[in-house]
Amino acid sequence: MSTTHTKDHAAHGHDEHGPAKGILRWLTTTNHKDIGSMYLVFSLVMFLVGGTMALIIRAELFMPGMQLVDPGFFNTLTTVHALVMVFGAVMPATVGLANWMIPLQIGAPDMALPRMNNFSFWLLVSAFTLLILSLFVPGGGPSAGWTLYPPLVLQTGDALPLAIFAIHLAGASSIMGSINIIVTIMNLRAPGMSLLKMPLFVWTWLITAYLLIAVMPVFAGAVTMLLTDHFFHTTFFAASGGGDPVLYAHIFWFFGHPEVYIMILPAFGIVSEIIPTFSRKPLFGYDAMVYATASIAFLSFIVWGHHMFTVGLPLAGEMFFMMSTMLIAVPTGVKVFNWTATMWRGSLSFEPPMLFALAFLFLFTIGGFSGLMMAIAPVDFQYHNTYFIVAHFHYVLVPGAVFAIMGGVYYWLPKWTGHMYDMKLAKWHFWLSTIFVNVLFFPQHFLGLAGMPRRIPDYSTQFTDWNMVSSIGGFAFGLSQLLFVYLVWKCVKGGARASAEVWEAHPKGLEWTVPSPAPYHTFAEAPLVK
């Protein structure tokens, strides 16, 4: 068995196989576990940075009138909050989990392209250094919204090239990460692990990686055109020179819609690992889950117009995008039904990973419903660019993607550190997060329906009550996350020893056959999968 091999291997004590010492270990590492950890820590830092921006936003919106920030800086906050959370927190977190878990789950010794893996990570750090720097240059940070729509974005000061280069670097990092993941999955699976035997997390990441490779270059192209419009007098997006601002919106959302699935598909994968384990029952409809994921990925390429129902699409275009968008409900529904059927007649226990997966199941579904409502084009004329959409995408991204990521961390943390974490604290973190995420985002549905536009720093007085509730929820949710930081830190430092299996629910999968903490090198010889 693999376990014995790894143990033997470690017993030899080859120096060159252990981690280097000090800072160099982290700068030069090509080890998937080190790189995975760095991605996860980076993501957590960005989550706190982006969260702090969100709290300033919520503080300004606590009551009508301008109390704290200039409206221009408010726009910078909403813009950079989104960029940081999307490209700095959620995506790197799933990449970190992929780095840690894909080799362990498919019985590979490491990622297929370890040096490129290191490069991907440090490029990402450079990207965010640039983006954060852009806040301090003349003209202020980028403030045209994360969609960077021209002509507005061309009014940005010196921050524009910094932000665009940041996006280029982050994009290059994502593309390299995706290539690495695809090559690893395609070539380094243990003997006997056919594609349809792969864990769902591996499957969802395989599909996500293809999405990334397909759309990141498109986005890079769009922002490059912004750059030449700004500095080299091209007029790709300027009507005065025969260009077209709507073209940018089309290109952006051709990237942007798959991008939202890039954030949610790995989350689906994590939840598909956790629910069967703590239901003590195999995942219901494994094949259907794989096909549903692939269908969602395919559909993501033909629905971008639903972000643009108000730009003046022709009638036929609105019809097409309305109906293709509604279709997404079918494979997404299949997934939700399958998770539910997995729990049906299972034997459930409620450890922290399961709690987060369950919250995901309920709250992501709510986000799915509001998504379906917005697919209805004529009604979307009322919802578009109001707080209703803000509520929708925060539901799918926070109690959706972020909760799944946290569930994943709670699931695998003992495997990484070799220590059990403080269960009681984890449950506190869960309940506080779950309650306050709803206090934070549910009232935003009401605000949107009542007519409050998004991206405004101040509002008419009839919106006061729900904004106050939302802000209170925001601060409580934000502060609750400090528990998580403390818990993870404590678990890294020490705690009760975790067994190889970690959970008494006997989780399935190769990652549970190696000891906890997972040795620096695992699966030097491939395990055999029946």
Binding site: M66, P151, T365
Partner: protein
Amino acid sequence: MKKMVKHALAAGAALTVLASAPALAGWTDVNLRQGVTEISREIYSLHMLTLWICVAIAVAVFSVMIYSIATFRKSKGAVPATFDHNTKAEILWTVIPVFILVAMAIPAAKTLVKIDDSRGSELTIKATGYQWKWQYEYVDQGISFFSSLARSSDEARELRSGIDPNSVENYLLDVDHPMVVPVGKKIRVLVTAADVMHAWWVPDFAIKKDAIPGYINELWFRAEKVGVYRGQCTQLCGRDHGFMPIVVVVKPQAEYEAWIAEQKKARQAAAPSAAGVARLTAPNDHHDETTLRVANAE
């Protein structure tokens, strides 16, 4: 587990208290309005239809989830089954949603066709978005003016102005010169922008269209009730995006005509002194109209 339930109950109670207090003001604070046009009412009923379908599905799905969580617990000695698929169920829950979606799509498509049909309009107004105000041009009447945030709101919205927004009437939703239209008439609005993208939205008419430099978008409404209807720019357009509201005053035909006459008179009075710039309230109008050169009218 007992502890968890206790936590949940406490949390639920807190949430109910939090949630119920501001909700007393009535449904209009938490739901879409019906509005004052045929289209807006259709959109409202589409919204309610979809909402109730979602609620029904949610009740069904969440019940099964909650039942599973409550019943199949290891702590209650539940023994796990071993099944991992059920072809019949899987076909059912793939096919049934398709039918539900079709049922939703048909009325939605009908409304969409109606919204698209701007033929037979009785008055055309061009709305141009600027950073950060609107310009309204009554194409056939030769009337044109700018519409900016009302002064009372503008003073109160300054950073730490010391003015309580609650003391300002229609805070942030009031303008100096509203658009005026006759009741019961089909009004066509041509929407465009002179600098960056904006969007023109009046919730009571259930219409929203982006105002895009180089494009002329079209929308229409037929207000059935006299009144003042307020909306806002809904496309991020820079620093003062939140401060360029839209106000439409719907008047009886006679009052509308009187307003038109008054505007024309004022314009004539202003014309000689304004050296050819035939605008009522545009002292700082330095924008170049040629941005519309490549206008792409559909």
